[in-house]
Amino acid sequence: MEIKDELQELFRDILGIDDLILEDTTSADEIDEWDSLAHINLVVAIEREFKIRFALGELSDMKNIGAMIGSILEKIK
């Protein structure tokens, strides 16, 4: 499964939105449920799903889905 598809499943689960569709440009601006608390829960869920752990300094580019995918790819390569 592609990373975006995995993220979409994860976002649907964490945010409780069954029909959520993610694009690279999707950000918290478009999703009401994606607030500060949800953002941290999403980061932890991403870490668990992809078996990675972001260090201090590696969390700075998570402002949209495209950026998140980039950060994930950096960690899993």
């Binding site: 950000s27 918290a28 009401d32 500060s36 608390l37 932890v44 260090a55 201090l56 969390l59 700075s60």
Partner: protein, 302 residues
Amino acid sequence: MKNEILEIIFSEFPTQKKKITTFFENSPGMEEDLDIFLDTYSNFMELENITPKKLAEAYIEMLNQMIFARKEFIYSGEYLSKNQAEAFDHTYDNEEFMTNYMIALALSQFLWKHHYEVFNFFKSIISRLDPRSSILEVGSGHGLFLLEILKIINKDNTINVVDISKSSIRMTKNIIKSIDENLARHINFHLSDISHYKTDKKYNFITMGEVIEHVDNPLKILKGLHGLLDNDGTLFITTCANCPTIDHVYLFNNVNDIRALVKEAGFEIDSELVTPTEAKSDEYLRKFKVDISYAAVLKKQG
């Protein structure tokens, strides 16, 4: 300046855009106070060579540190810093880090509802203070609370300030200088850990904001302040429960832990403010260990 700073923050953190916009809509005074703060702060920023962009970036950096600390807290249930010596090395003794941290926290007084509410609570308490009071501030940090005290004291009164960080003292001196150079005459600064501060003086009013969650032994600190306080004196403290940041050391699991500690130190709670960072039910706050800010006016037990 406000729009420039908010634009930078919001472009990096859409979640902050939602949160802060909602705060401003629900608390109109907050945005006005932000305008006043930035207007006042601009002279200090010039003294310290801080541009609006740098202020915004410092705030963003702090947010990223808090996200990191919060996510690690979710895994471990513990704060990142194992002891205050560790926190001192990577934070209070690091000039660049401390400068960025303090200016970010200063800005957060007017962007975070819980910080804004604590600040207003403090202002309401000191508005009733006798201007002749003998005053001690422990941990001046960004200097904003001290500035409020300076507005109410007599012209010939002197405040003692104890802070463990050279950078905090420098910044506090500069913020005072930026308002009025003459105000500095009213303050004696002591670069010291409060547990090493020795004096025969007794104070009418002691304020200690956001310190006890940064130390190994908050009970010892509170007991020490009990000894420095007049029998009729007032201790004002702020702290927080479940509030992971990179320099917090002592974990209060809930507000009752804080209440129990102040009582063990020989204080009774005269008034208090409990303000969670999220507007959620008590059950939710407990289940997800949401950050809760706490402020209290304490008197010696009778």
